[in-house]
Symmetry: C2
Subunit: 342 residues, 2 copies
């Protein structure tokens, strides 16, 4: 077979604020690959099927000299993120062509992996699409489940507030909190998202663009747990209407990712309310919770007890648009890019 184009999404320029498709990232078609002959040097040739686009990726679109918890993407090289691919050729013992792998994959149509160190072989339930395994059955669901189990110290009848409750992580948090017997208040940025949050069980769901967060929490709170995906003034409001001994789980602060972080208005609440505030990386919680996550969450996704919504875009060339949509919140549900069908 003759060489074919290996489309790639390249990190082209550090964004000033929002990441612009075609400027921050460019879709590049200059590389070709011969699927039959490309040397694998003992590794795997993978055809990428689905990629996950997540809010945290904004943090990697930065200048290399800025330190953070994940390395910056490399200018001139492809982005990478959670994905699933199918093995086209394998020189790894025990891995057959046709097997599926999950892990951090470069944003290109075909990837050569030196080994399985950063990947895992994965099988799917016939009822679930592969995309679910990079969403609620993957890192997204793990983040919700493991963060909640480790830090919420949830008790029945308590009140939890979840921001970006219609997103991949937020929608799972709502359902886990309801399963634990809490009252759940959830916010998002459109009426369509509000409807979805009600569908999945939120007791109170509101559009923060048309309803004041403070007024809503004054009425429906005080809160015992806040799952924060947004930071900024929503975090301030949550602290103001938090109970003593409240637990705040800092999953993200997207309000600051593109236009700078606001300060926290009143950190004295941490002392006066005996609060606990936790940032975390899901990778550190996996050793403790992976088995429980699969046992508890996967069957509920298969049975439909846990619901999820995907916002699916077809074509790797559109990944830059999806990155922007996720930062602006114009997607509804977990953002997925389908790169190829099997």
């Amino acid at each position: 077979m003759a060489p074919i184009t290996n489309g790639r999404v390249i990190f082209n320029a550090v964004p000033q604020d929002f990441p612009i498709p075609g400027e921050t990232t460019v879709y590049d078609t200059t590389q070709t690959i011969d699927l039959d002959k490309v040397p694998l040097n003992g590794g795997l040739l993978i055809k990428v099927l689905v990629l996950s686009v997540d809010p945290y990726m904004r943090g990697r679109l930065r200048a290399p000299e800025v330190k953070s918890y994940m390395p910056a993407f490399v200018l001139g090289k492809p982005l990478m993120g959670g994905g699933i691919g199918v093995v086209v050729r394998s020189e790894v013992a025990g891995v057959e062509a046709g097997s599926h792998v999950r892990g951090l994959l470069a944003h290109q149509e075909y990837v050569i992996a030196p080994n399985l160190a950063m990947l895992e072989i994965i099988e799917r339930d016939p009822k679930l699409h592969w995309s679910v395994y990079i969403g609620p059955a993957g890192m997204i669901g793990e983040t919700a489940y493991m963060g909640w189990r480790e830090y919420s110290r949830a008790k029945k009848e308590e009140v939890a507030f979840v921001s970006t409750g219609a997103g991949g992580v937020g929608s799972m948090v709502i359902q886990i909190a309801k399963q634990d017997g809490l009252k759940v208040i959830a916010s998002a940025g459109s009426d369509e998202k509000v409807r979805f949050m009600k569908e999945i069980g939120a007791d109170v769901a509101f559009n923060y663009k048309t309803t004041d967060v403070r007024e809503m929490l004054a009425k429906e709170g005080p809160i015992d747990i806040y799952w924060d995906n947004v930071g900024g003034s929503t975090l301030d409001a949550a602290m103001e209407f938090a109970n003593n001994h409240s637990r705040f789980i800092e999953c993200g602060q997207i309000s600051g990712y593109n236009q700078g972080y606001q300060p926290m208005s009143n950190p004295s609440f941490i002392v006066s309310k005996s609060m606990s505030i936790h940032g975390f990386l899901v990778s550190n919680l996996r050793p403790k919770y992976s088995t429980a996550f699969r046992a508890e969450v996967w069957p509920k996704l298969v049975s439909g007890e846990f619901k999820f919504k995907e916002d699916v875009t077809h074509g790797l060339q559109r990944l830059g648009e999806v990155i922007l949509a996720v930062q602006k919140g114009t997607n509804t549900g977990k953002a997925i890019v389908v790169v190829a069908e099997e």
Copy 2:
């Protein structure tokens, strides 16, 4: 015996910023008490010996409509705080005159307690003055020991930063952290305090009024644990120079008590560094740690292995001055008011 004056420190006016002796609080001598005849109604007559004056008391000198974790002091009534007294007369079964009691005592020379509900009978080691039992062997030491044990997750060789390291709580935290094998950086506001922090084992001790906190932490950090007694710009600096997975123990934020709280400049570090930040009340930790505290800390205070410094003022009429000194940091060591000798 004829009635005698029962001096009292009355909450007279809500302070605008710093609490002014004679204005915020007044020493009142209008009440008399007949020690032989005053009816006890089944309770105890206590002669107050020593009182503890602590930073947190500023939070109780507020208008009653402002909610916080401890009730406001009542305008026109005496203040109260940790203290020790001797029983003069008792109508409580099993409590003899001459016994000593510890607990929250009204700021007056003689107190009638209805029962032992809020007090405990206490005995002292002959080597230690009663004041130690409201300092490092009391609530102050408990705060340091229990907060550290619950939240520090300290590991040998880690780096801890302690603000107000020459104060009652801070000086105990330094010594417990050194005992646990950590490198300790400590700050305070005078050269005399810096000398004391070095005496008790701080590896690095500095005067924040003459040395920039950020420069010092850039040189001696990054830090894994921050014991915060001050908040404000020191808390910001600690977050900036904190390691991933750092633990912040929010014991107090005195920089904001009198002149308003500063915002936290960059709360995004909580996410990006996977930080945990904990406020706490020592009363909630006592059930778990009281036995260990007495077993571990009291013998080290008796033997002199744990050192402490007291700033002793004689006379209840001077308590208002001591409250101000503690808020301004002009005391060195744990502030104690000796109300009476036995």
